[in-house]
């Protein structure tokens, strides 16, 4: 028999020394490797011998029918090994994630400017990229739909429209003392993960395929690779250790490159890597949906809203992708924290000849929620009240109402408490007075202040996705490997899951290794999305730990002659009555006693019940809350602005890791600020994306970080039974950045002595700020 690994320490049962890493701030599990340059991303993995490189050739028109593809020059280009079009796909050509409409390579029809038409395999990256520019493609152009307005007029939709309502909005608006209307054009957003899309496919025996992919959804990559290759799912393994950023951009958008790499790998029986150059990455992958929204709101003299009619129009691009759920989520959040007694919400999914827009942090929520704040600002200016007062007046609560437009009851509402706390800690009212005085004396620079709340629903609105699996192994030296369906994209999921494992077994975090996400370890996983990574996978891992602990407890109780209910695991030891034994010894002995030290775990979110047909039910397990108070200065000569100060109070339930949670909040806020200010997607008249590199598309730089940036956690446990009563944190704080937009409007409103609400489209670039000023001047 083999010897077990020699114990490094003697039995430490009497004096356990290891620190227990449970609910405290451990640094990111990969931090040391990240700062050392040794954390491996897909492009850093040692390359297999005989690795070849793929590149894609893309369309130069937005809409048309492919008449002829001449690839002679591509084939003749030096270093070219293989060239494929959709005709060379042995299995499914369509890799649409939920609905059809996304061919892996253009299948006769051109749907957007930049659509991949063919792919080249070359001996190195450069020859493949050069060859990919050489095809002669005859396309019979057809008229392209390039805006929401044109798409709407043409009734061009990717999916049927949806409605939600409560009360009688039409009657409510009629009965209201005042009504106001508004529109808002909301820009999209490029994910700009710093690591671009990349996959490496390694053919294994016969028709089996191993894939490394920078993907938030390895199971979907597995499925789609199997489908394009026309093999069973069990022949494909996808491995994902970490992404260099995802933000939703690698939920569905990662699969295509894995599929193309796999197609070549299968054809040529060699390893194939496909990494998109940045500009192409920006052209060929979907973005946050641009929206064109409108509202009509009814209210009384006090600013109390009684009725609202809201329409959200998502520019979905050429295919459904995830747009059904994304526009749903926009609809779910147009109320934000406000009770809308009589309301009607229409959601349209417009089909345009653009790249298919996709998941992005918030998933439509931001584009819906901003409408709630737009309405509040409109009402506040109309009645001459401070917008914060109007916000507070309209919050969900016993006095107003607790039913959302989709019929879900608000149960554990933190918004009023958070606003009240932040209002004080940020010194809102005295700063308001100071700003009013400042603006009176400052003809050019105007300051603005806004405090806006967030209420974000947590759960996938597609109920079946709210499940997760995990696999936990304890090895004979007491060290633990845990694997789960979630992917690490920087959000600290593996750190939190590691803490959960360490906490369950009562051991040091050093004992726990979270391994790469693999489809052969935990199958049929959901994407790491909807902020649900820790909620779902943390619970699944906990479940596996509990199963193993139960076996160990039974074993140890029997050993000491007591009952297993009395067994506890803490301080790197097992305890039962007066007995205790070190964790290592326990595992050692359990192994010899033939106790299974491995288990899979599972979790499904309870209480979910939403009927999409009726637009009623409970789509969310719970809500995460937060609020931000932001002060800005705006230069009315140029439209430039500066965010002077930000105060945030955010609800993460009982925090699993303060450092990570605060990092998510700060990062989400800045990313949201970029969405609303500098990040300007521009398409030309031909439908070509012209903000297609980092010189023309500007995400926030370090100087955009507000000098005063106070972030605090609203420390209250989740009332629902989430993992250790924590709350999801990935997406909700993104929408705190709406306070930047409201503060900029507040500054501009001062030009009219706060009587008019500026029409400030987003992103609020200096030029759009100047347009807003011009429209105020026109109204006065």
């Amino acid at each position: 028999m083999r010897k077990l690994k020699e114990k490094i320490h003697p039995d430490t049962a009497d004096k356990p020394t290891a620190k227990i890493a449970n609910l405290r701030s451990s640094p990111h599990e990969s931090a040391v490797r990240q700062v050392s340059g040794s954390a491996r991303y897909v492009d850093d993995i040692p390359e297999p011998a005989n690795l070849k490189h793929a590149a894609v050739g893309i369309s130069a028109v937005a809409s048309g029918i492919i008449k002829h593809i001449n690839l002679d020059a591509v084939w003749a280009s030096p270093g070219v090994i293989d060239v494929i079009t959709s005709k060379d796909v042995p299995g499914h050509i369509d890799i649409g994630p939920v609905f059809k409409g996304d061919p892996v390579l253009a299948d006769g029809e051109i749907k957007f400017h930049g659509q991949p038409i063919f792919a080249v395999l070359g001996h190195n990256v450069e020859v493949a990229k050069i060859a990919a520019t050489l095809a002669i493609i005859e396309i019979e152009e057809t008229p392209a739909i390039l805006s929401v307005a044109v798409a709407k007029a043409a009734q061009s939709f990717v999916r049927p429209s949806q409605k939600m309502s409560q009360g009688d909005a039409a009657q409510g608006l009629k009965n209201a003392q005042h009504t106001a209307k508004g529109t808002l054009s909301i820009g999209g957003q490029e994910h700009l993960y710093i690591e671009g899309q990349v996959s490496m496919a390694i053919p294994e025996e016969e028709d089996r395929m191993f894939i490394y992919s920078s993907s938030q959804h390895p199971s979907e990559v597995q499925k789609l690779v199997a489908e394009v290759l026309n093999i069973k799912l069990n022949k494909v393994v996808v491995d994902m250790r970490r992404m260099g950023g995802g933000f939703g951009g690698k939920e569905t958008q990662a699969a295509q490159w894995a599929c193309i790499a796999a197609l070549f790998a299968a054809r040529k029986d060699c390893a194939v890597k496909l990494r998109l150059p940045r500009r192409q990455d920006m052209i060929v992958t979907g973005k946050r949906h641009p929206f064109e929204n409108s509202f009509e709101v009814g209210f009384d003299d006090s600013g109390k809203i009684s009725a609202a009619k809201i329409e959200v129009n998502g520019n979905c691009g050429h295919s459904p992708d995830l747009s059904d759920a994304i526009v749903d989520r926009a609809m779910f959040h147009v109320d934000n924290t406000y009770f809308l007694e009589h309301c009607h919400i229409d959601g349209h999914r417009l089909k345009t000849h653009q790249v298919s827009h996709t998941a992005y942090r918030g998933f439509g929520g931001p584009q819906g929620m901003i409408m709630a704040e737009a309405m509040i600002d409109k009402v506040a200016r109309a009645i001459g009240k401070d917008p914060l007062s109007v916000r507070k007046l309209n919050l969900y609560g016993e006095h107003n109402g607790l039913t959302t437009p989709y019929g879900m009851q608000i149960e554990h509402d933190f918004s009023a408490a958070i606003i009240e706390t932040l209002e004080k800690s940020s010194d809102y009212w005295s700063r308001r007075a100071a700003i009013t005085t400042f603006n009176k004396n400052s003809p050019i620079i105007k300051k603005g202040l806004a405090l806006t709340p967030v209420k974000f629903g947590i759960s996938f609105t597609a109920k079946h996705l709210n499940q997760a699996g995990a696999l936990v192994h304890v090895y004979t030296d007491g060290s633990i490997q845990a694997n789960h369906g979630g992917t690490e994209m920087g959000q600290g999921l593996h750190t939190k899951v590691g803490q959960i494992v360490a906490n369950e077994f009562g051991v040091s975090l050093n004992e726990v290794e979270i391994t790469s996400t693999r489809t052969d370890k935990v199958p049929n996983t959901s994407p790491t999305a909807a902020s649900s990574g820790t909620d779902l996978n943390g619970k699944a891992v906990q479940n596996a730990c509990i199963i193993i602990k139960q076996r160990l407890a039974e074993f140890y109780a029997q050993l000491v002659g007591l009952r297993d209910q009395q067994v506890t695991f803490s301080n790197s030891a097992v305890h039962c009555g007066e007995h205790q034994l070190s964790w290592e010894s326990l595992i050692h002995q359990a192994y010899y006693a033939r106790v299974s030290l491995s288990a899979s775990g599972f979790y499904k979110t309870p209480k979910l019940d939403y009927n999409r047909e009726t637009g009623k039910g409970r789509p969310f397990f719970y809500f995460a809350y937060g609020a931000a108070a932001t002060e800005v200065s705006v230069d009315t000569l140029t439209g430039e602005h500066k965010v002077d100060r930000v105060d945030i109070l955010h609800d993460v339930g009982k925090s699993l890791n303060r450092g990570i949670d605060i990092g998510q909040i700060e990062g989400a806020f800045i990313q949201g600020m970029g969405w609303l200010t500098t990040e300007d997607l521009v398409w030309d008249e031909a439908g070509r994306l012209i903000s297609n590199n980092l010189a023309t598309y500007k995400i926030p730089a370090i100087g955009d970080t507000p000098a005063i940036f106070n972030v605090n956690l609203f420390d209250r446990p989740n009332e629902e039974d989430s993992i250790y009563h924590s709350k999801a944190v990935g997406e909700p704080p993104f929408m705190l950045a709406i306070s930047v937009w409201c503060a900029m409007k507040d500054a501009l409103s001062s030009l009219t002595n706060y009587t008019l609400d500026p029409q400030l489209e987003t992103p609020a670039t200096p030029e759009r700020v100047m347009n807003a000023i011009a429209s105020l001047e026109a109204q006065q």
Binding site: A31, V35, L694
Partner: protein, 554 residues
Amino acid sequence: MIQFLLNDQKVSIENERADLTLLNYLRENRRLTGTKEGCASGDCGACTVVIAQPTLVPFDAAEAQGIACLQEAVGFQKASGLQETNVARTTESQIAEVSADKSAALSYKAINSCVTFLSALHGKQVITVEHLRQNNTLHPVQQAMVTANATQCGFCTPGFVMSIFALYQQQEAVNRAGVITALSGNLCRCTGYKPIIEATLAVCREQKPSQDTAQSKRIIAQLNEIRDNDAGFTSATMNMSKNGQHINKENDQQNNNSDAPASDNLYLPKTRQQLAACIQHFPKAMLVAGSTDLALLHTQELQPLEKLISLSYMSTLQEISVNNNTLSIGAACTLSDMEPALLKHFPSLHEIIERFASIPIRNQATLGGNIAGASPIGDMAPVLISLHASVVVDNGINTRTLPLRGFFTGYRTTQLAKNEWIHSINIPLLSANQHLVAYKISKRFEDDISAVCMALNLTVENGKVTQLSTGFGGVAATPAFCEKLETSLVGTSWHHKSCVDIGQNILASAFTPLSDVRASAQYRNKMMVNLWHRFWLETNAQDNVIATRVIQHA
């Protein structure tokens, strides 16, 4: 052959393509994958590495005047805490070095490896992220990033670590503004930067061990050894270029350059005669200095750059001097190198320099490259036009001096003849009554390209305008000026509000800019009008200060 130190290992490059970037060399040839590719265009900083070299020693005695200029610069105090101290330290050690032969100081500069060709590295040390960690001990910079929770996805992290390392090595006090300047070329999409700022401040405030002089001396000795061998190196290269066989290869279309020897596709002249000969013999070869723009032809447009003539070793193109009330800046001076002298004489250019790309780009990009590139929005050209600067061009035999006004003949074209290069740029110094400003409007403050750039150089004597010079970027096919505006105000009382109206009326229709990804034509016109208003307010606001800027240097 090019020789440099890669971390602490001496490497000799032969048989490589001229357009091989340092990033690809590190990742593909050396498997040093800690350095990441984010954009391959110098815009994200994921590929940042640090270049160390002995603080500059003038190549020959002819630069004695350069020393005088440096001595002047030591006395100069600049607004930014970081840069100020850095300037003083560098120049002092430069002077010390000149007088005391070889010093033990290395200067550390962050650069973007994705837009750097190997030709720029000869005789320098390239430090990558893998070099910082000593066995299992993180470098203090790395440890600070871990402690501050300053990593999330980690992909930008090595680049940040290297930029912070370069700052840390400066051994000087750093404030928040200094951190932001130093990290302006590194994008992070996850953290929102706050913990990175905190980590940088924390580590730069630590009591630092003084530079390991033994190690520095060893590195310097190794670098000097490489440089001392230069004599053979350069002439060998030149001999090659005079070799008929190689010249014939120039015309051989089938010649696959991917495996051509370095001596066949890369020339590193040191003198103007050598440079002239290179240009004459290899008319297709491109001149390269900072490569921050040229490299994009290769990395973004996929054009092979088969033959390059590097200007990096032309010491005569790197001189900075002041003579006859004129500041002369060598064409191959990097923007970072010229910054102290430029800002000494033109302090109001602080903001435009601060916003001129990022630190890593400014550490590489040259003033001559900026002018020769003839971009209609290159921010230095409008400024220099407003200053009535001139360009000294050379062909190895004769030099001629051309006013910058008129130098640009069309979109990305200049008066430069095929056999000429820019030697230097001459900038007349300001008189006491001159007010110079340079305004830049862009979507983002840092590292963005101007929608509109406007430089105004106004002389007021006894309250009356005696001279106005202008320069504009982003409003025409070339950097431009507005003669009508320049002449219309002479003689008027500057305090008078009519100056605003006259200027605004002229500027409203002076140019017909394009609408593009950065701004619409209307906005650009509006900005010229409004920036004129700003200028008038700022130059008249002495008794009644009116805030006119939200974006200015911290």
